[in-house]
Structures are given as structure tokens and as C-alpha cells.
Amino acid sequence: MTIELSRRGFCIGTALIGLQTVSSSAFAARSEDGTVRLGLVAPMSGPNARYGSFSMRGAQMAAKEINSVGGVGGRKINILPGDSQGTPVEGVSATRRLIDQDHVDFIIGDVSSSVTLAMQPVAEDAGVLLLNAASSNPKITYKAGVGGFKWTYRNYPTDENRALIVLQYAAEKKGFTKYAVLSVDTDYGRAAIEFTKKYLPRFKSQILTEDYYKEGEVDFRSVLSKIRDSGAQAIIMYGNADSTPIVGRQMMEVGIAGKIPLIGNAEFNTASTIKAAPKALEGAIEAAAWLPAYESEKSKAFVEKFTAEYREAPNNHAYVHWETVHLLARAIEEAQSIDREKVRSALSNIHYTSAVGEVTFDDHNQARLPMILLEIENGKPAIKGAYSAEIDYPK
């Protein structure tokens, strides 16, 4: 059973791998080829690949649009993908590869907050601009800008923002004070509830039951019956799109559909979700960074184009990545160079008009973004306005 290696055999083996590594670095393309080299880190394989595919498609569509009109400042945008598999170690490896091997100048990524947090120091050490488009953990920008990491920017609203806006609307417009929590068991779902709790006293509200479901959970009947018997007026739900139709269907089964609305954010507004459980989603309140039904010319055009291109409706991840590539292109245009320093200062001072409104960055490199508040009425999302809130950074 015991196998011993000869010394030479071992050398040959290791040398083979070594050769592969060296040769690939020697032939790696340089950045002076007249393109904008943009890395995109996202989960592209494994259970979370569904987020990555939307991100990639959104970004690629933006690049195509920009390149078809001659690129930015005469340079074509070249997107180089990096697979994070949704885990920090893979995300860091992908980032390293993009920086050292592919010589990217800018990186967009990741979806998952814990991956982004791990990527931050890597980008900082290399002096590569990390522009996040889809992670909502507030810590990312607590630590950015004047908080420390000079090279991290985020063009996405944080959980704190969202939690406050939802709670405020539910309390002031609907008069709710008793809530049940049913959120996804990830940094996103947990953090949103943590910040909801922070603002509960302000609205004299309370949480009666608190449950978190694992991504991919399919059986909510037990917890929904508990919520039914608890006396809650609304279910606070921060989750991912795939669980919402299941929850909706099972709300109908346990008989709380139409009685206890869902509030929060879990893509309540997509047509297929509403179709799956129309009665349960009626009256659902959602704060979203963006939604396909948003009434603006730019947004409508995006939805139309994306649907035509990929034969499926875009989701939030597709939109934010599409918009972020455009935002970066604008920053490069204003800097009139792909020099990282110049692009970074252009980004800090940018006034960019996105599909949902004007984007500017605060001193923590966090985009000031409006959140769209909507309510499902008669099976269709009705937009109740765009709200924004200035974040109180911990001192």
C-alpha cells in the first residue's frame, strides 16, 4: 500500500506544473493593447452559478453596447471573467489571477458580500479599482474611502438603507407594528434583519417570530403555520428570488395569503413569481435597487434589449452589472485615460445618470442611490416612489 517516490520522479512532476505556471505568465497579454481590461468576479459554477450568469450577461451586454459605438475613448472594453464559486478563497484566487495574470485595470465583483470583503485587501494592495455592483453588507463601505480601503467603490445600496426604508413605509403607511421574520440564512438576510432591529424602537414595533431559511429550502409550511398563529401583521422577508414563489404557494396552502403580506426584498415583483402565487403576493411591499417594471426610458430599453438578446427577463443582478459597466465607462471617459488614479478620482466626483436616478459617491466610496419602493397591487408592481437615506457611519 505504501508507495515511495523516487526523488527524480518527484522533481519531474513538480517541474511539469511549474513549467505550466511560468509559461502561462510569460505569455500573458499585457495591458497596453489598447483595450480596457475589466475583470468580473462572480460565482460562475456550483450552486450559486445562477447569480453569476445574470451578472456576466448584464456586464457583457453593456460592453457590447459601448464597443459597438467605438468603445470608450477609442478603447474597446474587454471583460475577463473570474469564477468565485461564491466562496472567499476562490474569489481571492480569481482576483489574484485577474490582477497578476490578466493585468486587469479594473474589477467588478462579487455578488456575495463575504467574497467581496476578502477581495478588498487584495485589490487595495495591488492598487486596482474594485467596483462592487451587488454586495449589500454595510461593512464593505464602512471600511472603504475615508474608512481605509481607497480602491473599493460600491454602486449598490446597503442592507441598512433598505431595512430602514421598508420599515418606515410599513409603519407609517400601513400602520404595522407586529412582524414575523422569515429571511434567508446568509449575510444578506441576517444583516438586513439586524438593521431592521436597530430601527424597530423608532417605529414602536416588535418582532414576534424570527426564522431564517437556508438557500434552496423548499418546505416553509411549518414556519408559516407558526406565523399564522403568532398574530403578526406582516412577514419581513429578505431573500433570494428562487424561494419567493415557494413561500407564496405555501402561504396559500396554510391560509395566510392575502392576510399577512410579505415586506422586504426577495424579488416579489417578477412576473413569474406573482403568477405562481398571486394571492400571497398581493400587497407585498418591496424596496429594490431596480426592478424590470421600473418606469424610465433607459430601464425599459435595457429590459427589452436584454430579453431579446438572452431570451429571458433580466433580474436585479443583470441590471446592476450592466449599469456598473456603463458607470465605469463614463468615469474612464471623464478621466480621459485608463490610468487607475485618474479614473478613481473621476469616479469620486462623478455625476452619472443611471436608469433609476443620479449616482454620486460619498466619502466612503458608497454610491448614494435611491431605492425604489413598490407594492404589488392587482397582480402588478405599483411604484410608490424612490427613497434614499444618508448612512450614519460608525465613528
Partner: protein, 290 residues
């Protein structure tokens, strides 16, 4: 209060039935192949995708889609069975772990490559709620319980009376003796595997209407739910697996209600470890195999 408990038990039986149909296939595969099949949930996923594909692209009615899902999965199982599972008969445990993990990666990521990673919407099935004895359930769930019972009785009859069933029992007890008396072990192994994969697919197609979402990564969770069940049920023991699946379904349901949903996925392994401390061979002794 009492009513709530009963309602949760009923919920538990529904999810227990789903687990049972998946786990029973996995435990039979273990009995014959002596390998933990880490790819088992993927057949559940494949069955669901087959049915989804039939409904979405060809607009076929749900019952036809069920058949297509199961048959497609069985065909894929023939390939995997020939190239992977047959070869791990008699291999060490770690080889089985790696080979089935490899198969899981290939199946899962091929589906993601072909259909994209985004979630799909499953639109077939019987989802209208009905009220029985004061409980409201979707029709589909009642169907799941009924099919679960049929599968259980059918398997009991098969392993007791049919020639193939007897051969399966024989192989699970002593591979060498089977070879001596002329039972084609590899043949039996292949058929057991196809049967197991087909049952997992059936379970997937049956639950798809109530679970609504279909995506490439959905199999992994099922694999992890099933693993503790087959150990608790006494590896290779059909009857024990059914009981263990029901126990786990009910326990999960009660934990989700009275402790918290976030602890639900821990129930399986926590129960398993408690059971193993008390009875190292599972609740149902391995001697009572099949």
C-alpha cells in the same frame, strides 16, 4: 396547541415521504454497491429538469412530463451506471466518495452549462389547496404521500418475491457468494442503480409543483438530507429507511416550528449523531437488510 402539533406532524409526513422516496433508492444502491452515492440528489434534479423541459418546450401535460423526467433520468443512469457505478463495486470507500462526487459535479454543471444557472419556474402539477380533516394541503402533497406508500409497498413486494429483488438482497448480503452461485453482480448493481436513480427522479418530479423553482444546484441539498436518513435506517434496509425518513420529516417540522427554521438542516445530522451514540449501527440493525 394540540391542533398545531398535529398539523406539524402532517407536514412532517409530507416531507418525510419525499425524503423516503429518494432515500430508499440511495439505501438500495448502498446495499448492493457498498458506496455512498454523493450524486444521488443530482438524479432528483435531473428528473425535475426533464419534466420542466417537457412542459416548457413541448407544452406536454404534467403526467406525461413525469414519465419523461423519470425515463430521461433512467437513461442517464444507464450511462453513469456503466461508466462509474459498476466500477466502484469492491473499491475502497474513499474511491466511492470521490467517484460519486465527480459524477455529481459533472451532472450538475452540465445542466448549468446547457440551461444556464438561473432558476426556472415549474408550472405543472396540482397545486389547488384542499381541506381534509381541518388541514389545508395542496393536492400535490396528498399525491406525494400516496405515491410514497405505493413505492414502499411495491419495493417490499419486489424484494420479497421477484427474482431481481431476491438477487438484490443476496448481493447486499454477500457479494462473493453471489458470484459463486452465478448471480451477475455487476448486472444487479447496474439495475439497482437505475432503479434508485429513477426513484430519486420520481421524487423530484412529484415535488416540483410545490417547490416551484428548478435550478442546477438543487440536488445537493437533497443529498445532504438523505445521507443521515440512510445511516439511521440501517444501510441497505428499505423498511428502516422509510421509518427514518418519516422520523426525520416530523422532527424537522417540529424543530422548524418550535425552535427555528435555521436549525432545520442541522436536525438530520444532529439526530444521526445522537442515534449513532446510542446504537452505532443505526436504528434498524443492518442484519434486517431489505
Amino acid at each position: 396547541m394540540f391542533f398545531t402539533v398535529i398539523e406539524q406532524v402532517v407536514n412532517g409526513i409530507v416531507s418525510g415521504s419525499v425524503y423516503a422516496i429518494v432515500a430508499v433508492g440511495m439505501t438500495m444502491i448502498f446495499g448492493v454497491l457498498r458506496a455512498i452515492n454523493f450524486a444521488h440528489g443530482e438524479y432528483y434534479m435531473l428528473g425535475t429538469f426533464g419534466a420542466w423541459f417537457a412542459i416548457e418546450y413541448f407544452d406536454l401535460p404534467y403526467p406525461v412530463a413525469v414519465v419523461i423526467g423519470v425515463v430521461t433520468t433512467a437513461l442517464i443512469a444507464v450511462i453513469v451506471g456503466n461508466f462509474v457505478m459498476q466500477r466502484i463495486v469492491g473499491a475502497p470507500a474513499e474511491a466511492g466518495v470521490l467517484a460519486t462526487l465527480g459524477a455529481a459535479l459533472i451532472l450538475q454543471n452540465t445542466i448549468i452549462l446547457v440551461f444556464g444557472g438561473s432558476y426556472k419556474f415549474f408550472s405543472g402539477g396540482y397545486i389547488e389547496p384542499v381541506t381534509l380533516f381541518g388541514f389545508t394541503l395542496a393536492e400535490q402533497r396528498i399525491l406525494i404521500i400516496i405515491v410514497g406508500m405505493i413505492v414502499f409497498v411495491g419495493l417490499e413486494l419486489m424484494v420479497t418475491y421477484s427474482r431481481m429483488g431476491k438477487a438484490m438482497r443476496a448481493v447486499s448480503q454477500n457479494i462473493e457468494c453471489c458470484a459463486v452461485v452465478g448471480i451477475d453482480v455487476r448486472h444487479i448493481a447496474l439495475w439497482t442503480f437505475i432503479l434508485g436513480a429513477g426513484l430519486a427522479a420520481l421524487s423530484g418530479v412529484l415535488t416540483a409543483p410545490v417547490n416551484v423553482s428548478v435550478y442546477g444546484g438543487m440536488g445537493e441539498l437533497i443529498t445532504f438530507k438523505t445521507l443521515p436518513i440512510i445511516i439511521m435506517g440501517g444501510l441497505g434496509n428499505v423498511r428502516g429507511t422509510f421509518v427514518a425518513a418519516m422520523i426525520l420529516g416530523i422532527a424537522e417540522s417540529l424543530v422548524a416550528t418550535y425552535i427555528g427554521l435555521q436549525f432545520r438542516d442541522t436536525v438530520g445530522f444532529a439526530t444521526l449523531m445522537l442515534v449513532l451514540m446510542w446504537r452505532p449501527h443505526g436504528l434498524f440493525s443492518a442484519q434486517a437488510r431489505f
